[in-house]
């Protein structure tokens, strides 16, 4: 039996006013195992702590019960004080006789009786407490950023600037992401490439940043501080160390008709290509699905023209395994498939385009050299209709139930820029609501209406039908006028909903990070931990967590970086010792605990156990990684055999408290 000391705090008159502290100390002194019991004015004071420390030494106490304020207030204080006296800090329990007793009861007899009962419960618990030691695990001082868009780049730069190594894994041939395709940024209208490309160069030149472009995460093992990640470096068929990015191969390649992804398929690239002029790394990549040499063995033009001798048709995918302390997910987004919406005629007419296609049409590096021309006939459009909420806020199976957040602003931008550059155009914007919260956002939108004369119409487009003369018949409602509008448009631009990148779902499984029903990553706490995933050591940056614009993305990227830095700066992680543990002898191997664990802290291994007949039989048993477990206890209740228990809140401890309270 533990030798227990009880310390009853007066908290001035906060407790002593409605609880007879002398009686409490006296009554608790009679409890089994209690060898010392006293009361004092302020237990949390220097003198109070000394009193506890002296008693621990003098009476050789094995457990301490402090009857005072809420453990949420001073449990840590008392644990530290006891640790200084040589007692394991987890042998301390606090009975809350202030917030949950003296402050809410007026009758002294009632308050005193309740305080005694709460004290008894704490004593009963301490009897079953075991000394716990917080484990430590080392931290690998390198971070992995998955995704090389603006979110991933900013996170990587911030971490690298703090002095830690960062690897960026990007599935495309270049970093830059969606922002590289955008023409201008709202609400300041500065050129996207002008602010983005220097950052791309910074990433490439930073001595702490290592870019794995054209690569994907293959698998993830380990846990916070100690992740081991396999990265698949896809074959480019070009030797990175030799290629100078001169681009001669991309001009000589005879396969010319491959839709150029960077320009949203509105012009063509060759089979060997560099996505765009400022690509980082600026290395050519052969598209194995279209290359004649790789498909049929006949061609080899690029190899002949390459002065550096960089072409290597025998290159294979390479798997690289690296260790990381933290992982940042920055997988970004894509626009949903607009072909599913028959009413908008996206599949029927070349002149119905998405907003991202519109960006390319107005970009100086785009297929038209920045002149706004109709994709069908290359003529100047005079009437342009923008349709917002195409698939956003839609509960049907084709759409997405959420607001994509960025469309209102970029549509205002598109409308405004069109009217500025081509004052002879009529521009209509159909909206359900215009949502412009943000610094200078609403002013921007109002400018489009008031200064630039964009026709904003409250209502939705119901039908877009191509006419024989090449115009588009747009049928829409104007709800404020109570009319149905019929517009002959030359160009229709759809602000499609955005959705998380398709690769995110598979990645979430590899990381055991949770996702919501829309495949956005879930944050550890929606308000207080918005850039952390519930899985320790995995952080979120950018649209993979939810729709957001560039400034928000950059802010979140910085926040994620600061969380990563806060983790990597530590040499060792101290683990919460109140974690689950599994009794192998009782474990059935049912995997129930593994399912309910929000952190992926539970893994299974097969071990051999001796049977009654002395033969050995293999059985799956659970084991808890104490560095990952956060101690919620969900697994303990799921376990049918009681193999899983929680240190510090064990089944027996809680039942002992119940017993003591009900005695």
């Amino acid at each position: 039996m533990q030798r227990i000391g009880v310390f009853v705090c007066h908290c001035g008159t906060n407790i002593a006013g409605t609880v007879d502290v002398k009686t409490v100390a006296e009554m608790l002194g009679k409890e089994p195992g209690v060898v010392f019991s006293t009361d004092y004015q302020y237990m949390c004071s220097e003198a109070g702590q000394t009193l506890i420390q002296d008693a621990i030494k003098e009476h050789n106490l094995g457990g301490v019960v402090i009857c005072s304020c809420s453990p949420r207030m001073h449990e840590q204080t008392f644990r530290k004080a006891c640790a200084k006296a040589g007692l394991n800090p987890y042998m301390v329990e606090v009975a809350n006789i202030r917030e949950q007793c003296s402050w809410i009861h007026k009758d002294v007899a009632e308050g005193t009786e309740k305080a005694v009962i709460l004290g008894r419960a704490a004593i009963a618990k301490v009897h079953l407490n075991a000394p716990l030691t917080a484990g430590e695990s080392p931290v690998v001082k390198r971070a992995l950023v998955i995704g090389g868009g603006i979110a991933g780049m900013q996170t990587a730069l911030d971490i690298a600037d703090a002095g830690f190594e960062v690897d960026i894994v990007e599935k495309n041939a270049t970093i830059g992401g969606k922002m590289a395709q955008i023409d201008k940024t709202f609400p300041t209208l500065d050129c996207s490439a002008c602010i983005l490309t220097p950052k791309m160069v910074d990433c490439a030149q930073h001595e702490k940043i290592n870019i794995y472009a054209y690569s994907e995460v293959e698998d993830v093992k380990g846990f916070v501080g100690n992740f081991s990640v396999a990265i698949r470096k896809k074959a480019r068929y070009v030797d990175e160390t030799k290629c100078t990015g001169c681009g001669i191969c991309t001009e000589k390649c005879p396969v010319k008709n491959i839709p150029n992804e960077f320009n949203m398929g509105m012009d063509n690239r060759r089979s060997i290509y560099i996505p765009f002029a400022q690509a980082v790394p600026k290395i050519a990549t052969i598209d194995p699905n279209t290359c004649n040499k790789l498909k049929t063995g006949k061609c080899g033009v690029c190899s002949k023209v390459c002065g550096a001798g960089a072409i290597d048709y025998t290159q294979k995918d390479e798997i690289i395994r690296r260790e990381y302390g933290a992982i940042v997910v920055a997988t970004g987004f894509n626009m949903i498939d607009m072909t599913k919406f028959d009413e908008f005629g996206y599949a029927q007419s070349k002149d119905v385009i998405t907003s991202l296609e519109f960006e390319r049409l107005t970009n100086a590096a785009g297929p038209t050299g920045g002149t706004l021309l109709r994709p069908s006939d290359g003529k100047h459009p005079h009437t342009i209709v923008f349709v917002q909420c195409c698939g956003s806020r839609s509960t049907t199976e084709n759409g997405k139930p959420y607001c994509s957040k960025i469309c209102c602003m970029y549509t205002a931008k598109h409308a405004m820029l069109t009217r500025e550059k081509y004052p002879d155009t009529d521009v209509y914007v159909f909206y359900i609501d215009v949502r412009t919260p943000g610094k200078n956002f609403d002013e921007f939108y109002r400018r489009a209406v008031e200064q630039y004369g964009v026709h904003y119409v409250k209502g939705m487009v119901g039908k877009v039908a191509p006419r024989a003369d090449g115009t588009l018949h747009v049928q829409a409602s104007d709800l404020l006028a109570g009319e149905q509008l019929h517009i002959d448009a030359d160009l229709v631009v759809l602000a499609g909903a955005i959705e998380p990148d398709k690769s995110a779902r598979g990645l979430a499984t590899k990381l055991t990070a949770s996702m919501d029903t829309n495949d956005f990553f879930t944050e550890a706490h929606p308000k207080l931990r918005p850039v952390e995933s519930p899985t320790a050591g995995v952080f979120l940056s950018g649209v993979c967590q939810g729709p957001k614009d560039i400034p928000e993305t950059v802010a979140q990227a910085g926040a994620a970086a600061s969380k990563v830095i806060g983790l990597l700066v530590k040499d060792k992680l101290t683990c919460n010792p109140c974690v689950a543990q599994s009794d192998e002898l009782l474990c059935n191997g049912c995997s129930g605990c593994e399912h309910v664990c929000p952190y992926g802290a539970i893994t299974y291994e097969t071990k051999e156990f001796m049977q009654f007949d002395r033969s050995m039989k293999p059985r799956r048993v659970a084991s808890v990684n104490p560095a990952v477990c956060q101690g919620c206890g969900a697994c303990t209740v799921t376990c049918p055999s009681g193999a899983m228990d929680l240190k510090g809140f064990s089944n027996r401890q809680i039942m002992a408290e119940v017993d003591a309270i009900c005695k």
Binding site: R393, T396, A476, S477
Partner: protein, 129 residues
């Protein structure tokens, strides 16, 4: 402006759809091919039903101008299905006309030897609920 919550509830019961899921985007009315013929447009059906102003709808010719082409139902991004509301209000109107127009007791008197069986059945379908 008469508000009749019972009628509102009947319409909601008949459609099985909560009109509050409408986000007032107007896509239904944008799609509607007989928009110009209708006094009340599809999106107004939803709003007026929600407000309990079913009587106004019942009095309107719009009930019969709706082609029941179901375009609004097909296009609605929130699954509100306005055509069902029009149909429900129409049914409410039809049922209002003093219940059954044909009672079984009255049949024998109307019968004559030449009357085909089918006519009776179809009369029942048309004139009784």
């Amino acid at each position: 402006m008469k508000i009749d919550m019972n009628k509102r509830d009947s319409v909601i019961r008949m459609t099985g759809i909560n009109p509050r899921t409408c986000m007032k985007c107007g896509k239904c009315s944008a799609t509607c091919p007989s928009f110009d013929e209708m006094e009340y447009h599809p999106h107004q059906f939803i709003s007026l039903v929600e407000a309990g102003r079913v009587d106004e709808l019942m009095a309107s010719e719009s009930l019969y101008n709706c082609l029941a082409c179901m375009a609004c139902l097909e296009r609605c991004p929130r699954g509100v299905e306005p055509a069902k509301f029009v149909e429900a209000v129409r049914n409410l109107k039809l049922r209002e006309h003093g219940g059954n127009h044909l009672a079984p007791e009255a049949i024998p008197e109307m019968l004559d030897a030449d009357l085909p069986q089918q006519a009776i059945v179809s009369a029942f379908r048309k004139y009784s609920k």
